[in-house]
Assembly symmetry: C2
Homo-oligomer: 218 residues x 2
Amino acid sequence: MPEHAPLSRDRVLRAAVDIADEGGIAAVTIRAVAERLGVKPMSLYHHVPHKEAILDGIVDAVFAEIELPLDEPDWRAALRHRAHSARTVLGRHSWAIALMESRTHPGPATLHHHDAVLGILSRAGFPYALAGHAYSLLDSYVYGFALTEAALPFAPQDVEIAVGDHLAAFPAGAYPHLAEFATHHVLQPGYAYGSEFDYGLELILETLATRLAGTTRP
Amino acid sequence: MPEHAPLSRDRVLRAAVDIADEGGIAAVTIRAVAERLGVKPMSLYHHVPHKEAILDGIVDAVFAEIELPLDEPDWRAALRHRAHSARTVLGRHSWAIALMESRTHPGPATLHHHDAVLGILSRAGFPYALAGHAYSLLDSYVYGFALTEAALPFAPQDVEIAVGDHLAAFPAGAYPHLAEFATHHVLQPGYAYGSEFDYGLELILETLATRLAGTTRP
DNA sequence: ACCTGAACACCGTTCAAGT
DNA sequence: ACCTGAACACCGTTCAAGT
């Protein structure tokens, strides 16, 4: 049984990520992590100073999963790849989005991630100011989209039923634009919120390309 | 003393918001809310079914604070105003950003907010598809920026000191692009991460305006 | 109707004790 | 060195009892 491999910070973090994926961040308790590892709660404290460190650690572990195409010469392709990967990873571990807000101790994977993205912008010839704009805009968009997607009041696959139920529960005429938008757009066959991601991403990348073309490094 | 006004769902939610503002979302416990209201923990259950309902309620209360300029004829001005207000409100209650991810029961203020934004887009002549793109993009950006800003590993006012410390703690050369970007841009006088918000917002609004000009309602 | 005391099954964490 | 049992000060919530 791999359960009895020696305990380590890494095994603690992996168990915590698995528990969060299955039951949300609230399910991550010292006692639950210990039980999954076949160990007593107190044993964890020999590998991790306190629960906060576990939370910092699993956020950093999530960042480590995001792919960074370091050998991609085309900056737009590289940033597109990073954005898609970030969205996939954050979709798989949606508890991590909420956790980011309160974690102000970036780990090595997080710092490496930021370093790599700045490297892509630098090699593409973005002046510092424009690189700052680009990074802020792209990051905000990607994390924000993941947040919005996670907060949808229904699972993406049953939009029709869920939105229908929601609308039926509304006081008649209380949210006219919402009702109109739902019936004429969201409830139409073929609609999927997820596909909005690419529209926004491409709009941002295209506009940044235009602005890059109009500058030179100072 | 207003402490002895009759208890109500509203007073419970207001107390919960105040506690979250002061001590973060973890400080919001049934017992703490009760104590602030000068009442015993069990009394809250006569006005709120369980703690989850308090969390749903305070997220909705935060949405209610965001200003919606319903009488502004210029759609860009209206959306700009909404975005600035959302950012201010989410900055004041940064715990709410994290909470949004797990709240899938939108309250009346949240629904009214979405309805109003869709109304602005509709009156501006956005076809359904473009309205969907615009809303997704703007919302993702605004929430994502608030999230990113809240997650900064230092208070905005002491970037210089904090970033300096962080860089000093790095293994030499471990994050070269980050170090270069920090010394040549972030640490320069006059830099403030907060001012990135307007760059991204205006880029999005401008590009949406261009795309709106190229469409007609189907 | 609204409020509450006691109790239950949980938390994270300390400390002293085991190997 | 690594692991653990017992204990402490907390949680949210049920239930029966008070006004």
